[in-house]
Amino acid sequence: MSAPEMPVSPLLAVDDLTVRYGRRTALDHLSLAVPAGSVYALLGRNGAGKSSLVRCLLGEQRPNTGRALLLGRDSWRERASILAEVGVVPEEPDAPPSMNARQISRFCSRLYPSWNEAGVRDRLERFGVPSDVAFGKLSKGQKGQVALALALAFSPRLLILDDPTLGLDAYARKTFFEELIGELADRGTTVFLTTHDLAAVEGIADRVGILSDGKLLLDEGMESLKQRFRRISFPAAAGDTGDTAVPEREIAALAPVAVAARGWGVEAVVSNYDEERFTRTRPAAANRGVEISALTLEEIFIALVGERKGGTK
């Protein structure tokens, strides 16, 4: 993993952050930075440490070492003042169950100097969420939409979304991300989100981090990430005796992050794809039916995390 590229003035930064729960290390000397105006997607399997990181960022969890900075300020020490400029959509929307969206919005309006109550109302109407139904009686998707409407109501400089579409149906996910995209297009808000919905973030994130066992496996721009990851399929060649053979030496030379045996041959994922180098060797490879294809973010994630877990060698 390459060292994170530290922007000049990141709106969100994590510096040597470690969180332990007893003997278990949830975050292990983690460092990352999210530059202003970017959309950062933090990916990771369950238990990778994403929620611990978000809790640290929101000042709900005190790290054992290091610090989490939002807007350049320590989020444990200056949580309350920071959150006046940071919108949050939690994993489990958690408003008081007896309050309806209108009451919640009115409560929040007393806390933020630039609260846009009409904006909340408009968004909820767009989502089709009734504003006079108690929060506890809303569906999970509706709760998430209320949370997003509240998070956007004061034009935050930074949005932190903690797996906001977890458990939502396809339509709810779509409307959620559409609203988010609209906000990004409108105001260029910096976004930090953790999610399992890789397909959705692939279209909006311009930087990706992959967390595994509390460590950052990868922290890089979406474009460069997708450029350097390729799937290379090696069909099995028939030998003199009629057996099929895999060009093991050739595959090993590519230093793949994942290799999988298929019925028709071998599939390798490489993280250092260099088109020029491959072009030089292509004629020979092409003769043998070798195919090179781009990967989706989800495929890259599975290749990397699966390789770490030892599942898809």
């Binding site: 929101l58 709900e60 309350a80």
Partner: protein, 627 residues
């Protein structure tokens, strides 16, 4: 403040419906007078207040664990923590909201009954007062905070709960011990003044711990309860230490702290003095001090918890034993205790003689301190303290057990004598004398002296009595054994503001007012012959203070309370003090230098005077304020 206010408003908005429930409950005050066996209409206001108090307390107890603990357990507290709200604002807003709500519930529940009460123009209910209101407020806060704390501790079940339980037991035991010690020392009243501040400190500890729990623990239940435990128990232990320190201070007054003297008694020998009275800064606490006047060392003993009523206390003749009456720790009545003064550091021992009712008994110790006699509720009892056995117990009839109308004396080793004034008879008063045979436990035949006055003075051995003759014309000396009587003086000549006394050498000393001056007539011990006469020109009263030697007397004359050392042979007198009130002729102690000194009072202080030098020494109270 804005954040806390917003949270407070939200709490009330969320739960305002319980006000309707409280109003509904409050209607009970309207129905109560009309129910069978219902309350009196005049009590409707009090009933409404009681209802309000109960409703508010129940509300606080129910909402206490719900307001933060439940949200924490259900992971809903992060709604507040993901807003620009400080932990302090969340904590204060939520708890203030609930306290306000509980208070409002109480007010609403009291409203219907209170309204009817007001419309009837009835006087303000007796249970309504500022102190009751403040106590109610404190109770609400305590209930809420306790409920909140218990709620947090119980929601996260772990080994910590065991530690919390241990800490709780330690604090509770500590508080109980402190209170119990104070009660046992008779300082329960003085200690009451600290309970309210202690409750406030406990409430502050609970509040501080819950604030730190919310501010530092934030949205994590496990961390919250750890923070709560780590903060709460040290704070409560500090409160406990503070109370313990206060208790130590209350229970360790010095002689200098005595504000005044309720009771003073000197041992006939050995130089011990018992003194009791209220002490500075400890209202209601009246410790007794047994002082060794020579060394200045003293020991505190618990005696009476009854304000202003000195309990009987008596030294043995050899001055090595002390017996006294004290209030039981665990209830009303009295019990008997002794203190062995011959053993350094000895503690008072209860004799397990206890009564739950009736006035205190009269006490007497035999000269050697072996026998303790006490008279209580018409029964005369003698116990052998060394053998711990009952020597005698005999009914003595209806005796007015006021200490100055009864005297118990050991005239010899075989008898206990009781001398008492009879209740007023139509023709005068009777002084009744009866002996208890200690060998048989039987009462001997009673002797009756007719007297013209209620009061008498018995000699230390009880063999002679100074009393008025039955026609009230003379002061006479009665010999109990022979029943002989000698007139000492015409009663109309007895000086007022004076005190009859038997001198330590056994001679009766009688102050007489003659030709405008007080004369001290000292008669022979059997009353025969002419008295020695010592005239104090210009004085109006006289008290004999002591007899340093057979030929010398300490007397105090008034006006001006001049104290003199009188030479009985030469009639010369030397002034040794001023403004001093003598106590008793046998209140003799030793100075640090080993000289004999007598006890006096000056204002609220106890003073000893060495008659040889006239040197004063202040034994109690502040020396600075003595003069």
């Amino acid at each position: 403040m804005r954040g806390a206010g917003a949270v407070l408003l939200r709490e009330i908005e969320e739960r305002w419906q319980i006000l309707l429930g409280s109003l509904f409950i409050g209607l009970a005050a309207l129905i109560a007078p009309h129910m069978p066996n219902g309350i009196d209409r005049n009590m409707q206001g009090d009933f409404a207040l009681m209802l309000g108090g109960i409703v508010s307390c129940i509300t606080a107890a129910i909402l206490g664990p719900a307001v933060i603990g439940r949200e924490l357990a259900e992971r809903r507290l992060s709604f507040f923590f993901s807003r620009p709200l400080s932990g302090a604002a969340i904590w204060s807003g939520k708890l203030a909201g609930v306290i306000l709500l509980a208070g409002l519930c109480g007010a609403v529940a009291a409203l219907p009954g209170g309204l009817i009460h007001a419309l009837r123009r009835d006087p303000v209910p007796s249970s309504f007062s500022l102190s009751a209101f403040l106590s109610w407020g404190l109770l609400l806060i305590l209930l809420l905070l306790c409920a909140h704390t218990v709620g947090i501790l119980l929601r996260e079940r772990s080994a910590w709960l065991l530690l919390d339980f241990v800490a709780f037991c330690v604090v509770l035991t500590g508080l109980f011990t402190v209170g119990s010690e104070a009660r046992q020392a008779g300082a329960g009243e003085a200690f009451k003044q600290v309970w309210m501040p202690a409750l406030i400190l406990i409430a502050l500890s609970l509040a501080g711990a819950s604030a730190v729990q919310v501010i530092r623990g934030r949205t994590d239940l496990g961390r919250s309860r750890r923070v709560l435990s780590w903060t709460l128990w040290p704070l409560l232990l500090l409160v406990l230490l503070g109370m313990n320190g206060f208790s130590r201070w209350v229970l360790s007054p010095r002689l200098q702290d005595l504000l005044t003297i309720d009771q003073v008694m000197a041992a006939p020998a050995g130089g011990r003095v018992y003194v009791m009275g209220p002490v500075a800064g400890r209202p209601g606490y009246r410790p007794g001090f047994v002082l060794d006047a020579r060394s200045g060392r003293f020991e505190r003993i618990r005696q009476s918890a009854r304000v202003g009523i000195p309990e009987p206390l008596v030294f043995s003749g050899e001055g090595r034993h002390l017996a006294f009456v004290r209030s039981p720790v665990d209830g009303p009545g009295w019990e008997l205790a002794t203190l062995d003064l011959s053993r350094s550091g000895a503690r008072p021992q209860s004799l397990n003689l206890l009564s739950r009712n009736g006035g205190s008994p009269l006490l007497q110790l035999s000269r050697d301190g072996r026998l303790l006699a006490f008279l209580n509720q018409g029964r005369l009892v003698v116990r052998d303290l060394q053998g711990d056995r009952l020597v005698a117990s005999a009914p003595v009839g209806d005796i007015n057990e006021v200490s100055y109308l009864v005297a118990l004396r050991f005239p010899d080793a075989r008898h206990l004598r009781i001398v008492h004034s009879d209740v007023p008879a139509r023709t005068g008063f009777n002084i009744r004398i009866q002996d208890l045979d200690l060998a048989t436990g039987r009462l001997l035949p009673e002797k009756v002296l007719s007297s013209g006055g209620l009061f008498f003075s018995a000699s230390p051995d009880g063999r002679r009595i100074l009393a008025r003759t039955d026609d009230d014309r003379f002061l006479a000396l009665y010999d109990v054994d022979t029943q002989g009587m000698r007139s000492l003086a015409v009663t109309s000549m007895l000086a007022k503001s004076s005190r009859l006394a038997f001198l330590p050498d056994g001679r009766p000393a009688v102050p007489i007012l003659y030709q405008g001056s007080v004369e001290l007539w000292i008669h022979p011990a059997d009353g025969s012959g002419r008295p020695e006469r010592h005239v104090f020109p210009g004085s109006r009263g006289l008290i004999v203070g002591g007899q340093p030697s057979p030929g010398k007397l300490i007397v105090t004359t008034g006006p001006g309370l001049q104290t003199w050392l009188l030479d009985l042979q030469t009639d010369q007198r030397r002034k040794i003090g001023e403004g001093l009130v003598p106590l008793r002729t046998d209140f003799k102690v030793s100075t640090p230098e080993g000289a004999a000194a007598w006890l006096f009072r000056r204002g609220t202080r106890l003073i000893q005077i060495d008659p040889a030098t006239g040197r004063e020494r202040i034994l109690t109270g502040s020396a600075r304020e003595a003069r």
